[in-house]
Amino acid sequence: MSEQTLVAEDIIKTRFGEAVEADGRKGYEGYLVKREKLVEVATALRDEFGYDYLSSVTAVDYLPEDKIEVVYHLFKSTGGPSLVIKVDAPRENTSVPSLVPVYPGAELQEREAWDLMGVKFEGHPDLRRILMWEGFAGHPLRKDWREAYFEEEGKPFKSRWPDGHVYRIEDKNPFAKNVDYPAGFDPESWVPEGEAALYAGMGAVDVGSNLRTDHVVVNLGPQHPSTHGVFRMVVTLDGETILKLKPVMGYLHRNHEKIGERNTFLQNMPFTDRLDYLSSMSNNFGYALAVEKLMGIKPPERAEYLRVIMAELTRISNHIFAIGMFLNDLGAYFTPALYAIQERELILDIFEAVSGSRMMCNYFRFGGVARDLPEGVLEKIRSLVVDRLPRKVDELDLYLTNNEIIRARGEGVGVLTPEQAIAYSAAGPVLRASGVPYDIRRADPYSIYDRFEFDVAVRYHGDVYDRYLIRMDEMRQSLRILQQAVRDLPEGPIQEGKPQYQVRVPAGESYGRVEGPKGELGYYIVSNGKANPWRYHVRAPSFINLTALETMAVGDKIADAVAILGSIDIVLGETDR
């Protein structure tokens, strides 16, 4: 433990006394806070200590100890390492005070913890299920909850080898489907709860006018051409003006975390590809960092450079695609997207040559990368980042940036102030477009980003147009990093030690985060020393950025909701996980 953290520990101990206690478990960090003191401690940490940014809220089910622990990761928006606080709660009637009054960014995350882990947050303004539907039986991330196709606690399954007579698991289910019902359940008497709770919250709003108008509730999605997948917005409208907006998600909830806790550590790597499927290399990066932190290893130099090259190429391909799709949302169907996809295809060709797959790269390994660059690929990367992409970014700039329609649709629409952006835990381009120069590559550097010269892109209006501009800026900065990385790429090994499929991960917890193209992508991992993680949680930027969606959209027109959503740039695979 360094000098500095020791001092910080003393300060916190003296400030809060009995209310907090340092987490003394081996491999753990942070403080255990008494349940009834949580709000008080959090408020003081925010106001007195500067931990104004709540990055991640999640819960861990410690079944053997018969408790559930809620874990909060706090950061300072001026940069620096994390402060972790934890609250214990019993497994029966689990409840914890809600932190939404202190950190509004906790809203969706607390709903998720309620939905999947069954933690009641006292004082939460709208505690409904978020990823599953109302009425679903049980809280699936509890360790004693089992799905219909449950086979074994951990992989590999014994039925596969050496006596692996193949069958389809549905053939063992009485319904030949992935379903299971409570004992004695009668479908005829089932009254679906439906969405009464949701619509109850969408009712009429007092707009403070003497004119009596009817408000209309409109559903956009889940099948809607502008929602970037299966996302749904429920809006209350006064004429065309948005009075209320609630995001509804979970239509692509693929149970990453439940499956991830059954997988071995390495097996999770290809699953991370499928979180934010537009930027799989960045997802790999965050997960590799989190596990490497636990294992206490570092990749060799060349691998670090390759990682940075791939992550920055991913950022460009993601941003250029985001801009193309954003223009689609504005109605410029489909030419800007075609131009953007063309450049993306060329970047994907590099990924395909290096990793074997266009989208699902699965390229990172603990302590290195899967393979070295094949012959000729470095030249192609060089010709792209030195010559073609700078030209194409300029061309896109000329093509779109000063287009009067884009400016008219974007300027002053969907404004998020810097204070709001921090409070709502917005991350990435959304945060920086609101004038907060917070980039993890600078604020809390990881890998070898401290070696490169680049500027943290920042814009100050916080509107849709600035969120478009910031992606342009970031592509240019990424190109700068890439040019340096390609220039300096050293020779050498690409993997620390021998590649192995069973890694030993010591017990403990770790939170690895990277500046993904969508924002802060974090992985919270708890290991108990076994082959598979005890807890595997993803802090998904697409998901948490949506917390601020209502604030951005209220007061604007319904057509702008589509533009605002496009400017946040969500990917549903990550939002719903």
Partner: protein, 220 residues
């Protein structure tokens, strides 16, 4: 062009070849349909991105007459189920399928849509969209590359080519069956299976009670 239609076995004078074709009504009917399949603009997950790429300039499925992607199911012929089908989403998918007019086709793109894929074991994942709606072509891969998707669409065209106007289901008297929309209960419920659900749940209850009794027996 006309050579494509010719039914073998008829002698066409050499000077008229390329201008005249002797063909069947089926061939004309199928040619017209397969050359203008309009997919629904409907993406679910990762595969949807590859579907967008297939629509974009490099692969360009406009070459197959498929560029008119309709956001409304009422105007679409083809549903490309592009990605993981979840239990929360399946009621909407069934509803969209029911809203599509005949003739309609379904392509299950990728492992997830075909059989659940890597997420099959998940509690919110439907292991194969064909559990609810009929599927014409399955494309393996995770995700299928755009070229694999094009191959799947060509496979679908071949299937259309083999159909006959006399036997296609949309000209039969009984018409097309409407798929009942699944209900979100404690787990997803198919209305066609209520009887079975009740039976299995009752058996489960009995088993649990018996287990509780045996557990209680030694103490008694």
């Amino acid at each position: 062009m006309s050579n494509e239609f010719n039914t073998p076995g008829y002698d066409i004078p050499p000077e008229m070849q390329g201008q005249v074709a002797i063909t069947t009504l089926d061939k004309i009917y199928n040619w017209g349909r397969r050359s203008s399949i309009w997919p629904m603009m409907f993406g679910l997950a990762c595969c949807a991105i590859e579907m967008i790429c297939t629509a974009a300039s490099r692969y360009d499925f406009a070459r197959f007459g498929m560029e008119v992607m309709r956001p409304s199911p009422r105007q679409a012929d083809l549903m490309i189920v592009s990605g993981t089908v979840t239990k929360k989403m399946i009621p909407q998918i069934v509803r969209l399928y029911n809203q599509m007019p005949e003739p309609k086709y379904v392509v299950a793109m990728g492992a997830c849509a075909s059989g659940g894929g890597p997420f099959k074991e998940g509690y919110n994942v439907v292991s194969g969209v064909d559990n609810y709606i009929p599927v014409d072509v399955y494309i393996p891969g995770c995700p299928p590359t755009p070229q694999a998707l094009l191959h799947g669409l060509i496979t679908l065209q071949k299937r259309i080519d083999a159909q006959s106007i006399k036997s296609v289901r949309w000209y039969q008297k009984e018409g097309t069956e409407v798929v009942p929309v699944p209900v979100l209960g404690p787990d997803i419920m198919d209305p066609r299976e209520y009887e079975l659900i009740r039976k299995v749940a009752a058996e489960k209850l009995q088993k649990e009670q018996a287990a509780a009794e045996t557990a209680a027996a030694p103490t008694a």
